[in-house]
Amino acid sequence: MAPPGNRRPGYSRRAHNNIFFAYVAAAVGTVVGGALLFGSMGNTGNFASLRNLASDVTQPAAQLTAQGRSAAGGAWGVAAGYFTSGPENARLKKEVALGRVQAVELAAVKQENERLKAMLGLTSDTPKPIAFGWLVASTSASARRYATISVGSLQGVKSGMPVRTHQGLIGRVLEVGLHSARVLMITDPESVVPVRRASDSIPAFATGKGDGTLQLRLLTLGINPLKVGDAFVTSGSGGLYWPGAPIAVVSSLTRDGAIARVLGDPAVSEMVAVLPAWAPGDDPTLPPPADPVKAKADADAAAKAAAKADAQAKATAAKAAKQKAAQ
């Protein structure tokens, strides 16, 4: 291909200036971009309002594709179902028969549980979802794992609220627009979720690895008690995530923990529920926090005592000085 001829603009001073100032503008763009990048390195929440505006504007198109995606997935499921329907049907009938028995048992256990809770004066700890929405977009081309959901501040969503599908936890709300919100997924390397083993409450931290798995790090070091297939749920310690939400299943072991596969795969289910952020103070099984009034009184007393001591020290110092002067 021949080289373009627009690099030599002839004798026109205006054309020369145009080329020169275009390069100046490009250099300025580089410098400004670098400065903005440097500024938002430590604080990725910078320019959240701009991002929210952009996601609000593109939300209708994104939601349309999300619905198309869901319909396509459903159509594929229907088509695939034709080939496996016979054995599947037989298996499901068996499962339903078993499930009915278990459902009756479960209902009995539930009732007993409620009765016991009522005796202890505990309230139910199932959160009521704030809003339901679609997962409309994700940062598929980036090393970071953010997703966009189709509900925002108009639906009552606030920053910090946990987001889950019917299968498990997905992440928490980071930035909120009017009718869209940005979610930090639990598979992002920046996300840390306190979890516990469902069977015996061994505590651990689940950090994202960026590839759809979580790194589980046990709080107690020593012999690694985990096994492949162990299920983990959120522990709720520190607040934010509701305790007891299923999150991941161990797929392989590491020296100080395990790699776990996420249960709430967002590629499978695109409907999500936004839950209110959980505050540990809401848990009636925990001891009540220190009385703020009493704490304040204590602090005041301590300050008074300190002032008194200070005054005494000053007085003795003054006495000493007087005595010196008298001598």
């Binding site: 373009p4 490009a26 594709t65």
Partner: protein, 181 residues
């Protein structure tokens, strides 16, 4: 193809002209659209989609040098930053540098063909993904380097297709549908 027939000297071309608005806006709009497109088709758990916005920018730059001004990288990069998930300013800086370096490369090696274009774009894409990985790592999202490799391969293989699509859009951009007089 009707677009083709319109372009070749048929009778329908007479006293018709391309719309200047579409002719100049098409590259900007397509790059901005390509920036938000990768997020839509699937909610992915790993970086797998190629950086379509950046590839479209490269393709326009190689197909029509001078159509996008040198400073276009800053503006379009800012749009990309709104959707990409990278810290704000990353694409703004990287795309600006890309546009300047593309200009330098073009001045140094003016004679180009399909393979050299692909090679140059491949080097740019690899460098862009590597730097994006470094930036993500420094802003709190350090992931294994092996996770970016498949994305780079997909981007490298998909680049000629992006170039083809940009070529199609370019032909549509210059279609003469505005009736004169």
């Amino acid at each position: 193809m009707p677009a083709n027939r319109l372009l070749r000297g048929s009778a329908r071309q007479i006293s018709r002209a391309p719309s200047p608005l579409i002719a100049y806006a098409a590259p900007w709009v397509t790059v901005a659209l390509a920036s938000c497109l990768p997020g839509w088709p699937l909610i992915s758990m790993a970086p797998i989609m190629p950086p379509l916005g950046f590839m479209t920018l490269l393709a326009w730059r190689q197909l029509r040098p001078g159509l996008l001004p040198v400073w276009a990288g800053a503006v379009l990069g800012m749009v990309d930053d709104l959707f990409s998930g990278a810290p704000f300013g990353a694409a703004m800086a990287l795309w600006s540098i890309t546009m300047i370096v593309m200009d330098l490369i073009e001045a140094r090696f003016p004679w180009r063909n399909f393979l050299t274009d692909w090679l140059v774009a491949g080097v740019f894409i690899a460098a862009y993904l590597a730097l994006g990985w470094v930036i993500a790592g420094h802003s709190g999202g350090a992931i294994a380097p092996a996770l970016v490799v498949p994305q780079g391969l997909v981007a490298l293989l998909a680049y000629p297709m992006v170039g083809r699509t940009v070529g199609l859009i370019d032909r549509w951009r210059l279609m003469r549908f505005r009736v004169l007089g």
